[in-house]
Amino acid sequence: MSSETIALSTVGPDARPIGERLHDWIVTVDHKKLGILYILYALFFLVVAGIEAIIMRIQLIVPHNHFVSPQIFNRMMTMHGTTMIFFMVMPILFGFGTYLIPLMIGARDMAFPRLNAFSFWMTAFGGLLLYFSFIGGNGLYGAGTAPDVGWWAYAPLTARAFSPGHSTDFWTLALLASGVGSIGAGVNFIATILCMRCPGMTLGKMPLLAWLNLVVGGMVIFCISPLTAAQIMLCIDRYLGGHFFDTQAGGSAVLWMHFFWIFGHPEVYILVVPAFAFVSEIVPVFSRKPIFGYPIMVAATIAIGFISFSVWAHHMFTVGMSSYGNSFFVFTTVAIAVPTGIKIFNWLGTMWGGKIQLRVPMLFCIGFLFQFLIAGLTGIMLGTAPFNWQLSGSYFVVAHFHYVIVGGIVFALFGAFYYWYPKMSGRMYNETLGKWHFWLFIIGFHLTFDFMHIPGILGMPRRIYTYEPGRGWEIWNLIVTIGAFFQAAGILVFVVNLLWSLRKGEPAGNDPWDAWTLEWSTSSPPPDYDFAVTPVVRSRRPLWDLKHPEDPDWKYE
């Protein structure tokens, strides 16, 4: 065994004119640039869709409010949901995946760099198409601008008879375009993770982030495709006069629901599994321990991937399935608690006995654990069909899924931002601002989404632009709206922190967290080629081995 030391030079500041540099970003096929493009694009839409949420919340602050009309409210609701899911969380997760996967598996790029660029630009195009509906959605009949059919776009509301004009067309075409992009990204993830690993990195030695993204890739190709198929059918209905979902000609509204949720349920796990991946990387580093139960974590993730394809009809408990159908989906739905629970317990096991450093990324991960626990348990309540008959379609559901998405995914995302910001930008973020962000956001989050459960229990349906006084809903809506502003303030601090630190932050160095995965072995930001020499690994924590040559991990794994 011989060893050699390679020095990597830091990339100097780019002195070329701005036009040239911009051009570079647009034609780039480099996974790091594309990753950052994805992330910036998604951040932009976070603010846009967040403002749409704020508009809804202002309208709902008191009963019989006249801030916006019902039409505008419904558009805001649809655009908020669609944007957040498809043009915020999805791209941001793909962005982190694209950025990190090659670095973490010791590769120089994705398996198909050009496909990678294609995927990003399809997604970007989808978002533009969706928002172009504000201008182009008028259509021949002058009815409507942005789509207002809700993010599930249940038939027959999307039929020409109920959605004249082109707003719904923009909706389907946007999702069709971004769906193609997502499938491309899924294929790329799988091929990259399976075929580009550096020598020594067997499947059992990959960082968990790579494993989890492999599962995500698999879920993407099998779950986005049904949505794409269903959107093609909707296009056939709307443009060619087909009858797939035309209830007048014998078509079935329920079929659309099945198709949508066959996509929709695995989709929520596509969103959450990368969040799990972040947590699985951050918690060990800040607890100073390896992940607890690595093989079980992998197995649980794969189990979640499979089970998530069998639970979709828990979104349809109220559509009148047989009692056997309902019971089956109750079973699969509560069964998914088992692998999910295993993951939670393993994170706790990782923290147990560690030396937990409460830096900002770790704070967000702890917030994630706390909120995801509650959110999962409200999911169990929703998953038991009779209870669901009361809770479905109410604000309780809205509370449940924001709890998972905001309390879980967005928290994990913020954690990931702070954790990898030094790697991506070469500079440390500001810790004080980060803490401000955390506390503002967590207070806002709990004000908004804790109190949202209650009007649901008191019978307040979702997707209503106004409500009657005297039903016991007023006070809760008021608190919820106030919370939304706290969240906005938190996000504002976050954006300020990112921008400020980009210029003024401390230089980060290669490895500010004393971490263990390969991305921390190259310079920050990494050079174009990622690694001057292809690394060779012998364990799941190659940098631990390097830092502790007397006691390397590979002796134990």
Binding site: Q71, D148, G150, L157, F162, G250, V254, S287, K289, P290, F292, Y294, V319, G320, S322, N326, S327, V334, A337, V338, I342, N346, L348, G349, M351, W352, K355, I356, Q357, I366, L369, F370, I374, I380, M381, T384, A385, P386, F387, W389, Q390, S392, G393, I443, H446, F451, L458, G459, P461, R463, I464, E468, G470, R471, I475, D551, D553, K555, Y556, E557
Partner: protein
């Protein structure tokens, strides 16, 4: 970086179970050196807790004085068998999930508090533990058992509600969802009405449940009266069923719970539970065709010669449209336009003049009548009792 060598005996690192013994060291020492940072953190957590508690308190105070508790469609105040069974099931589920929360949250809070890095800690890495099969097994098997309990309890309730047989004396109602109002037909009784469902009270001694067939004329809707039963969707081409047996007379509030278009918000639903005598009387009244006096003949003429008749029915006249609510006994209802306004002469007039004033986006067009015609028409409508 110094490494604690004793921890690295392979057995110790492999199994958490054996490794456990050496995890928390020097507990006493740790307690003594609670860093300022910890206190700051605890302070902040306490701050948040106080804030939330204050919010909760304020909220519950406000809640304590609502206008009328019967107006609150609380799912935890059931008044009918399906809602009762759901309530009992939900209490069980809340208990189980509450217990799980308590356990897992305590573990989380404990590990954050206990295993925090202190300011004066040395730089050594903690014991490197990779996992433990026994522990993994435990936290796999216990949840599986809980899942089985949840499933069995749920499946029983599903069957008891969904597969309940319809007893011979049950009232049958066909509810048809429209954008954005409810049509109720009682085929056996020959009654048609809108938005306000009347059913007889049902008590265990003299059970008189109401079985509803749910249809839709356009998009999806959902029938939801929280205190009586869970919701069931109304889907075109896909008849559904639900049932209720309210045990106490009174008014029960509900609302369409499936997004159905612009005015989904104002597709309110009222269920009046009547004593058997009241119900009988109500049915008798509703069965009669409309009677109108000569005093409102002009209004009646306007009604029958305007497009009104294309969309509305008034039994005993030429009006037999079905696009809008049946108006035969309009004045027997407390609200108009699916609860968007109370039913008064003034509101009726305003409604016909401009439905958008109550319900922007409703499918009734503004009829562009002159003031005079409007008055006459309203005068006619208020005779439809």
């Amino acid at each position: 970086m110094v490494i604690e060598l004793p921890c690295h005996a392979p057995e110790g690192r492999k199994g958490g179970a054996d490794g456990d013994s050496r995890l928390p060291r020097n507990i006493g020492q740790r307690e003594m050196h609670r860093s300022a940072q910890t206190r700051a953190l605890l302070g902040r957590v306490a701050g948040v807790a106080v804030l939330l508690a204050a919010g909760l308190l304020a909220a519950s105070l406000c809640l304590a004085s609502p206008s009328d508790p019967t107006q609150i469609p609380n799912i935890f105040k059931p008044q009918s068998t399906p809602a009762h069974s759901i309530f009992h099931l939900s209490m069980l589920i809340l208990a189980i999930t509450g217990a799980i929360f308590a356990v897992v949250f305590s573990l989380l809070a404990y590990s954050v508090a206990k295993f925090r890095k202190r300011a004066n800690d040395d730089d050594r890495e903690p014991a490197q533990v990779y996992g433990s099969n026994q522990i993994e097994l435990a936290w796999t098997v216990i949840p599986i058992l809980i899942v089985l309990v949840l499933f069995l309890a749920t499946a029983r309730v599903i069957r008891s509600i969904q597969d309940a047989p319809q007893p011979p004396g049950a009232i049958e109602v066909t509810a048809i969802g429209h954008q954005f109002w409810w049509e109720f037909r009682y085929p056996a009784l020959g009654v048609v009405t809108a938005n306000e469902l009347h059913v007889p009270v049902s008590n265990p001694a003299n059970s008189k449940p109401t079985f509803l067939t749910l249809l839709s004329a356009d998009t999806d809707h959902s029938f939801w009266v929280p205190r009586l039963a869970g919701k069931t969707d109304l889907i075109p081409n896909h008849p559904n069923h639900t049932w209720i047996d309210p045990q106490e007379a009174g008014l029960y509030i509900g609302q369409c719970a499936q997004y159905c278009g612009t005015q989904h918000a104002k597709m309110l639903l009222r269920v009046y539970v009547d004593s058997p005598e009241q119900f009988k009387q109500w049915v008798e009244e509703q069965k009669k065709p409309a009677v109108s006096t000569d005093a409102v003949a002009e209004g009646r003429r306007i009604f029958e010669t305007t497009a009104c008749v294309n969309c509305h029915a008034v039994a005993g006249t030429v009006a037999n449209g079905r696009f809008g609510p049946d108006l035969t006994h309009l004045m027997s209802r407390d609200t108009i336009a699916s609860g968007a306004a109370s039913n008064s002469e003034e509101n009726l007039r305003a409604w016909i003049q401009s439905p958008d004033s109550f319900k922007p986006g409703s499918l009734m067009p503004a009829m562009q009548l002159t003031d005079h015609d409007l008055d006459a028409l309203t005068a006619y409508l208020v005779t439809l009792r």
